[in-house]
Each structure stands twice: as C-alpha cells, then as structure tokens.
Symmetry: C2
Subunit: 493 residues, 2 copies
C-alpha cells in the first residue's frame, strides 16, 4: 500500500493550513530575498530527477549557514515538513517534498577551499562535485568520487546518498573521503562531527551516520574532504569478450593478480548494441554486439607502465578484441561507447527502471545467468552495465509506460531482481539510496530488527519527524505516479 | 564529580542481588563451559590495560555467535549490565565492567578467511589484528590499520574504538577498511549492516555508527574488511632536525610536494633522549637528543624509487642528519628508536598520562610551542611522539604517583592540553576513544547539542542501558583510582 495516494502534497490538509502562519513567520525572520513563495519557485523545488512533483509552501535559499538552523527551529515549532535539496539530480525521489512544507535549497552555499599541504578540501554543501575535483586537481590533488551527474550534483547531495561513481572499486565512495561534517540537527541545533584531521575517535560516529541518511537525520552545511595525490598518468584499454560469462571470468582472473584498475566498466551485449546503434558503427569490426570491459589505470608513470605490461598480456590471452589508447584523445574515443549506451536505451522503451544493485564478486556469474533468465521470462530488454571492480551494476529495465502488459512485466522484473540480488549476498542500492523509488525493497534488504533500529535512530534525532518525511520507510511505488514532462539539463536528448 | 566512587562494581547493590537469579538462568541456558562464575575468571575479566578493576558476576565465552544474542536478551530482561571485551588492550578503561554484571569475552570467535579475488577479509570479532594482516599478506593483500598492540588486540576491539596506527595518514583507519558488520543490537536481535561489497547505500549507515561506539551501541560478531594490494617494496629513512619547529616545517614542505609516506613517525627531543638512554647510544653521532622523523615509503618498486629520489633531495636540503636503510635489516635497526622510546619514559616517572590527541597540520607548530610552555609551567617531562601524516600525537605526561604536587601538575597539564587541542581545531582522541579515561574531556570536544544527540542515539538503541554502562558520558577521573599491580604481556619490562 502506498503511503500517499495523490502526487501532490495535500494529504496533511489541516497542518497545511497552519503552515501558512509558520510560513509568514519564516518570511519575517529571514526576509523575501531568502524565502520564496511564488508559484515558479515552488514548482521548481517540487521535484527532482524522478520528476514526481509535490508542491511545497515555500522555498528557502540560505545565504548563510546559520539560516538553516532558523528554518529547522521554526519547522519544529510548527511541525512543518522540511525537505533539503542540492541540484536535485537524484533519480530516487529523495529530494521530492512529498508532504509539502518547506524546501531548503542549498545551491547558494558553494564555497571551496583546498588545503594543499594537508590534502583536504573545505567545502560547503552546495559546491558542485566537478568543481571540487577541478579545484583539487589544480592543487595537484584528486577527489575520486565521480557520479555521472558530477557536473551538476552537489557535495551535500553526494554525502546525503553516499554517492559512488566509477572509481569506487579502487578508491572508495563519498563516505571514504569525508573527514568532518558540520550542519544542523533536525531540531535546529548547529553541530560538528569530526575535525579537519584524518583521525577522530571522540564520541559516537554521527558523521558517518549522517552520510547516506538521505537528508533525514540532519542537514549538512559543510564538509572537510580527504584528497589523494593526483595520479600522474592514466591509461585506457577497451576489451571485448565472446559473452558475459567469459568477460566476467576473465576480469576476475585479472583481479586475482591484485591488479586494481581505477575504472572497470562493463557493458553487456544489450548495452553494447544500444551504444553501437547510437554510434552507427561497431566497436570492434566484425564483432557487433559483444560485451565489453573498459579499463582505466591510474598512478605514477612507472606504476602504470607495470600494469600495462600485465594487462596487455591478460588481454591477449582472454579478450576477443582489445584496443589501447595511445593518448588522452584516443582514450576519450574509447569512452564513447560507455557514454552513449545509457541514452540510447530509450530506443527500447520510453520508461526505464534504473536499479543500481551491487553483487559480491563470487556471484557475478550467477547473477548474469539470472539476468538472462529475467530477460527471457519478462520479455523486456534489460541492458545492464556497471562497475565490475565494486560489483555496482546498473540494471535498466526498459518498457513502454502506455503498455499495461509491459508495465506489469517491468514491476515483476524489478521485484524478482531485488530478491535475487539480496539472495546472492548483494545490495539493492550501491550509490542511489532508497528515497521513494526503492522503498518497496528496503525490507527485502533489511530484516525487521534492522529497520526498527533505523527508525529508532530517526525518532531519537528527529522527534517531530519534520525532516524529509515520507522517505525510506513508507512503501511507495513511484513508477505509478504521473511524471512531469520537463527536460532537465542532464537528460539525454 | 565522578559517577562512581569505589573501584569495585558494588554500587548497584540491589540489582547485583537480582543478578544472581539472572546469572543462574544464564548458566542454565548456555552451560558451564560457556559461562564462568569462578573467582579467577571473574578477576581476569575485571580489568583492561587501564588496570582499574571491577568484578563482574559472570564471564561468558561464546563459542557460537548466536550465544551473544542469548546473553543480551537475558541481560535486558533482568537489567544486567553487559561489558564486551576482546583482549582488553585498551588504555582507556573501555572494557572495564564498571557496573559489574556480565562480561562477554569474544576471544574464542577468531576465524579468518581471505577472499583473494575480491580483496576482502571475512573475520570474526576475536581474530587478532596481526593474524588478519598475516593472512592477507599470504594472499598478496594488505590490511593497513596497525595499532601498536596488533599482536594482541582483536578486530572487534579495533572496530569498537576505530583504531588507527602508524599507517593512518596514507591509508586511513579501521573505519576505512570495514565494508560490513554483523552482530547484535543491545536488545539482542541479530543484525547485519552492509554486504561483502565495496558499495552499499540501502538504509541508514548503522555500520559506521557501530564503528567507534566503544561497545555501547551493539556487539560486533564478525566483519568484512577491505584489503588493498600488498606493496611490493618498502624503503625506510631516519632523519634528524635541529629542533621541533624545524622538523615540522620541513615535513610540511615534503607533504606539499604531494609525497605521501606510508609511515611518518615523529619523536620530539625528550622522546629521543628516552630512546637514546635505553639504547645507550646516540642515534646520529654528535647529535644527541635531536628530534627525529622516521619515514617509510611503500608501493611498487618504481613508485618507491621515484619517492626515494625526491625524499633524499628533501633530506639533503632540510635534515640535520639522515640515514637510509639499504635492506629490511637496516630498516629494523632504524625502527629501534621508535620502539624503545615509549618504555624508556618510565625513567622519568612511574605514572604516564598517554593522550592520543590529533592536530590539524596548519597548527602543528603552534601546538609544539604550547607543549614547550606546558613542560615549563607544569615542571613535568612530557615526551611526545606520533604520526605526522595524520596529526595523531601521543603526548605522555610523566609524573610520580606518590608525589601529590606532581600529580596535581599532571592533572592540570592534561586539562590544559585538551582545551588547547580543541582550540587549535583538533581532536582529544585519534585512536584510543573515550572509555573512562577521556570522559572528563568529552564536553571539551563536543557541545551540548552534540552530546545530547549521542545520548539520544544510545537510548534509542539500548533502551535499558545495559550495554557497557558508565562509559563515555559520565565523568570519571580514572587516574584517581587504584591500579592493579599486574604485568600484562604487552607491558614494557
């Protein structure tokens, strides 16, 4: 049963009435330059990349961090739901204000300062991830987490969902690079978790509890991020294999040699066919539609040279075809296949259930066997690609929204997918989080005791339940809600 | 005010009486091979390396993980305090059963299994850290966290206090290597946080909340640890400098070149004098008592060669003296100074307040200036050494316990130290945790809102307050309690 039945946040009508008083008070406290109540501002803040819209009563755009505390304090007094957003690139609906109330838009807080000696980035929550990477690179340092939306998404959003990206296998995810957070408890008090140092063992680790809490346990205003030395060299290799099983068995052999690629992107046959159709060419002549693995190695010149030798020998033995980049331009070309595949999938259907499941390595082969069966039994195309070094696979269930049979098949497929992933020792999400979209599967991953503990923590920190209500624990079948027909800057053309 | 005034857990006399019934029930449930109530077993479990003793009513040594749940369930029913221990190497009193009750000793659960393809270690909580490292190394992998007690301490204990060690600056601490935990909520239910994969973004991050929670929010039964490829080569260099300020300014210049040593151990003049007196020689001829930095570089052969060139040029320019190891034997010799200094400090006093504070790099120099003043005003020797790559410094305030003036000076010094560390943007603990010993300073680090949030989380997960009660939040001046006159295997001779 869905926890709300209509796509607009009018369920709490009574409290919405009292929101009016609270919102007037909020405007008086922070001023009209900070608080917007016009239709356009409210509509813009009513949805994220999931494109399900819930109109809030006001949008707050803080210019100083302390203003976040003011909003939360008032929200608690008047029991107003508060949803925090960065750029809203989440596909999970995590930033959709499902209960209306107030949205805090943190894009205005976007300062970045690099400490080049300590190798730390001091950032505000609204800083763009790609900007942090560029600032770090200019100082000779590297910030590895790189969700594909990195030119749009913010550090605050990345912390909220513990974002990953293609570098996860070797370098880790957002959590692995956060050394300190400052921000506000749901009740409005300013807090700091950790210091600008790489060690901290004083008190419970609420820093990491905030990471991945999807804006439900506190509001991140700023962070200190750990950087690593910028790799001097990169080397890219594209390989193809006769089928999925062979590709996987081969890459596991490489891992067994303790060779850690910085990036290890896999595309199954269906994904390759999508990319090839968009590129209007075959990647390896005469080998149309073969699964590929794109490998990138990073490090000191000598280190990469060592890898190159090992990896070319491995490719010669196992790959059906391979092509190495001699320079960055050629590397960019090899990347085309990965960049094209995702958008091209919309040739196979106008709707996509994009599930970022994670599998343990020992069950990669079993999982791809299951996927073959799933494609057959569902009758749907399910192009799958992802990060083989950390098991984070993007399974794209494609269907036509107007076709009830396909829609039912897609729903059944996602259910079956989630159960299988957990049965194989994996995770229902590796980097997207739960938000609204994965709420029907939280209890597939977690038993009652685990969910109970999470909810107890939520109540402990947010006794009035004002922060991002309606997410994570209440089952919502997001695909049943009408989607806005809007084009977002990062959407495929 | 101390929260308990006598060093034996007889404060809760009434509940101790009812413990008898509960303990009988526990024996009946688990049997005499698991539950010990004899004097010797109870005494052995009554203290950790802080050597403050509190006699428990029973000691449980589980052979199967599920038995932990049985203990906790009964403990909740009868409100029996439960303290969990591994090898008890903590200096903070974190494993001392201050309220009596039951101790769970987890040394019996010590299995280790390495997944050589995925680069993961599957371990039980009682596994010794050095054993995990050896098992990983045999498979070509590396588990970097290395507290100096690694030949004794357990993974469970390391997770409980988020242990660090000398590798923290480059590789991170325990938290950075934990991908999944399984164990029991304080109320006894079995739970799992995370999967055996490097990505996980499904639900609140209670895995990391458990890490560093010092046995107060749950009991870790097993863990999946991330490994990294074993570095092929190590190279060690010992350098000396004319004074602390010059040493620090020099090492920051090296860091600014983005050179990351795997280990970067600093010893101030007083620490060096201790080591030299124990070694009965000067480290650099004609340079007695000069501060030293011991550097170790690790990586591929070519990578280390690159570093060597850079670092030798740096040493030639900045160091007063330096000596590089040509092989592992010579490296071991260079390490002697670091190994000898700590034990030799007991020439300066029979009591030591060993504080593992952390400083941000930008305030290293200011901190050492403060230390000079502190030595002068307290009149006490305060030899200091530590990990310059992560700012984790071990400040050793030496005094004679029988001398009331020195004791007062030591107490004042530790108070002043903690306030200064926090004022300089640092942490009161980097790897030891709070336990009992640092409870007077928790509120120096954390404001009321932060402590309130931590306590709310504690109450949420442990409503009956049975798990490791009396720690973290209640102020105890541990140094006022009589210490047992026992020799532990890792004590200096």
């Amino acid at each position: 049963m869905d926890s709300f039945s209509r796509p607009v946040g009018d369920r709490h009508f009574v409290s919405t009435m009292s929101f009016a008083t609270a919102t007037r008070l909020l405007c008086r406290r922070l001023g009209a330059r900070i608080v917007a109540t016009d239709e356009a501002s409210r509509f813009a803040a009513s949805f994220d990349a999931s494109k399900i819209s819930f109109l809030p009563a006001a949008v707050v755009k803080p210019r100083r961090e302390a203003e976040i505390g003011v909003v939360l304090e008032l929200a608690n007094r008047y029991r107003v739901p508060v949803t925090v957003r960065g750029r809203g690139t989440t596909l999970m609906g995590s930033a959709a204000p499902v209960r209306g109330g107030w949205v805090i838009d943190l894009l205005g807080l976007n300062q970045i300062r690099i400490d080049a000696v300590a190798g730390l980035a001091h950032v505000q929550c609204g800083a763009k991830v790609a900007d942090v990477q560029r600032a770090a690179a200019e100082a000779g340092w590297f910030y590895p987490p790189d969700p594909s939306s990195k030119e749009y998404c913010t550090i605050g959003g990345n912390i909220a969902c513990n974002a990953g990206g293609m570098h996860g296998g070797k370098y880790g995810v957002t959590r692995d690079f956060v050394v300190a957070l400052r921000g506000f408890l749901p009740t409005g008090e300013a807090v700091e978790w950790g210091t600008a140092t790489k060690k901290f063992a004083a008190g419970f680790n609420l820093r990491d509890l905030w990471i991945g809490s999807e804006g439900m346990l506190g509001v991140v205003a700023g962070a200190v991020l750990k950087l690593i030395p910028q790799p001097a060299t990169r080397w890219t290799l594209l390989t193809s294999f006769r089928d999925e099983q062979h590709a996987i068995e081969s890459i596991l052999r490489l891992f067994h040699q303790r060779v850690q690629p910085a990036i290890c992107e896999f595309l199954d046959r269906e994904s390759v066919r999508c990319a090839e159709s968009a590129m209007q060419t075959t990647i390896f002549p005469g080998q149309a539609g073969r699964p590929v693995i794109l490998l990138e190695f990073a490090g000191g010149a000598a280190e990469v040279r060592e890898h190159k030798r090992q990896v070319l020998a491995w490719a010669a033995e196992h790959a059906a075809g391979y092509r190495a980049a001699r320079n960055r331009e050629e590397a960019e070309q090899l990347w085309t296949v990965r960049r094209k595949c995702s958008g091209a999938m919309f040739e196979l259907g106008d709707a996509k259930l994009n599930e970022d499941v994670v599998l343990p390595m020992k069950n990669y082969v079993a999982f791809f066997r299951f996927l073959q069966r799933l494609k057959r039994t569902s009758g749907l195309p399910i192009p799958t690609f992802g990060h083989l070094a950390d098991g984070n696979l993007h399974v794209n269930i494609m269907y036509h929204r107007a076709d009830p049979k396909e829609t039912r098949a897609a729903e059944a497929a996602v259910e079956s997918l989630m159960r299988t992933v957990v049965k194989l020792g994996g995770a229902i999400s590796g980097e997207h989080g739960i938000g609204l979209a994965k709420t029907p599967f939280l209890r597939v991953q977690h038993g009652p005791a685990e969910v109970k503990a999470m909810q107890a923590v939520k109540r402990a920190l947010d006794p009035n339940g004002i922060l991002n209500p309606g997410k994570m624990f209440e089952e919502v079948r997001i695909w049943k809600y009408p989607r806005l027909n809007v084009h977002l800057p990062w959407d495929h053309k």
